[in-house]
């Protein structure tokens, strides 16, 4: 794959297309869950790949490219969210592709988790996405977001605790609701 990077740097269209296709899913998902709407996510994805195009000479491996894309996407998304006073939450109808047939048994719980994610601060949201979407460990997350390791661990701990608590409340309400039926 590093060979594709070298070819893309030399201006080979096919190699650059392959690089975009390989990484677009990760960049787009990160942008979508950070910003909340498909339009904003598409705009950010486009900006990030255009920036990548101008910076290919500074990227030395495919691993480095993945790191660079996650870093630029997260930082740009955090900047956008800071500029906006209030983030519009993702409409659940807006992303039907998020729910696939193979998804785990409780789609309602997962919608709820995504809604809780959208309520977090931009930094905490980025930390959770890098941890559970991109499967990065806390050290890699700290490097990507240029954040102290302890801050990353604290965001993870606090966010998970809050989500666990709110999820438990939701489930108990659902149980109560079903017992009345």
């Amino acid at each position: 794959m590093d060979e594709q990077l070298a070819k893309a740097r030399r201006g080979e269209r096919a190699a650059l297309t392959l690089l975009v296709q390989t990484h677009q899913r990760s960049v787009y998902s990160l942008a979508l869950r950070m910003l909340g709407t498909r339009d904003l996510a598409e705009d950010l994805t486009q900006e990030v790949f255009m920036q990548m195009n101008g910076n290919l000479s500074a990227i030395d491996s495919n691993r480095h490219l993945g790191f660079w894309l996650r870093q630029v996407t997260s930082n740009r998304a955090i900047d956008q969210l800071r500029r906006r006073a209030r983030v519009r939450l993702t409409s659940l109808d807006e992303e039907p592709q998020l729910f696939s047939a193979e998804e785990a048994s409780d789609p309602l719980l997962q919608r709820h988790l995504r809604a809780l994610l959208a309520d977090l601060s931009p930094q905490a949201r980025a930390v959770l996405l890098l941890r559970y979407q991109e499967d990065l460990d806390p050290v890699e997350i700290a490097r990507t977001l240029d954040m102290p390791l302890n801050t990353v661990k604290s965001h993870l701990k606090r966010s998970l605790e809050s989500m666990r608590e709110k999820t438990a409340n939701m489930q108990s309400m659902r149980c109560e609701g079903s017992s009345y039926e």
């Binding site: 740097r9 030399r10 201006g11 269209r13 650059l16 297309t17 975009v20 296709q21 677009q24 899913r25 990760s26 787009y28 998902s29 979508l32 869950r33 996510a41 598409e42 994805t45 486009q46 790949f49 255009m50 990548m52 195009n53 101008g54 290919l56 000479s57 992303e95 592709q97 998020l98 998804e103 785990a104 409780d106 719980l109 997962q110 919608r111 988790l113 995504r114 994610l117 959770l128 996405l129 941890r131 559970y132 979407q133 991109e134 499967d135 998970l160 989500m163 666990r164 999820t167």
Partner: protein
């Protein structure tokens, strides 16, 4: 419970692909602004006639300089030869003048002696 919420988070945050239409647009936009590939060969080829002219003019200058230097040296030698010849001729002329004067002196002396002897 912690494992449970983590696995639920992983399932909820599974990466999603953008629409096919967006992918096509993205690829088209990104590849339309490909950086121009480096062209070192064309650049060198452009320089080649210039380099040839530079080398040729340098060689011609060297040859010309050597020729001029040799010509000037020969002229200097010729000049100093002529100078030496002129000096030798001058020296011969001066010597000849002195000899003439001496001869005239000796001759006038011997004439006066002869006259005195014949008078006595």
């Amino acid at each position: 419970m912690s494992k449970d919420i983590e696995s639920q988070m992983r399932a909820a945050l599974r990466a999603v692909a953008p629409s096919e239409e967006f992918t096509q647009k993205l690829v088209a936009n990104v590849t339309s602004r490909l950086p121009a590939p480096p062209k070192p060969r064309r650049f060198a080829a452009g320089l080649r006639p210039l380099a040839w002219w530079f080398s040729a003019s340098l060689a011609a200058s060297v040859v010309l300089a050597v020729g001029v230097h040799q010509h000037l040296q020969q002229q200097r030698l010729q000049q100093s030869g002529l100078e030496a010849r002129r000096e030798v001729l001058e020296a011969l002329r001066v010597t000849s003048q002195k000899l003439n004067l001496a001869y005239e002196a000796v001759k006038s002396q011997s004439t006066s002696l002869t006259d005195a002897q014949s008078g006595a």
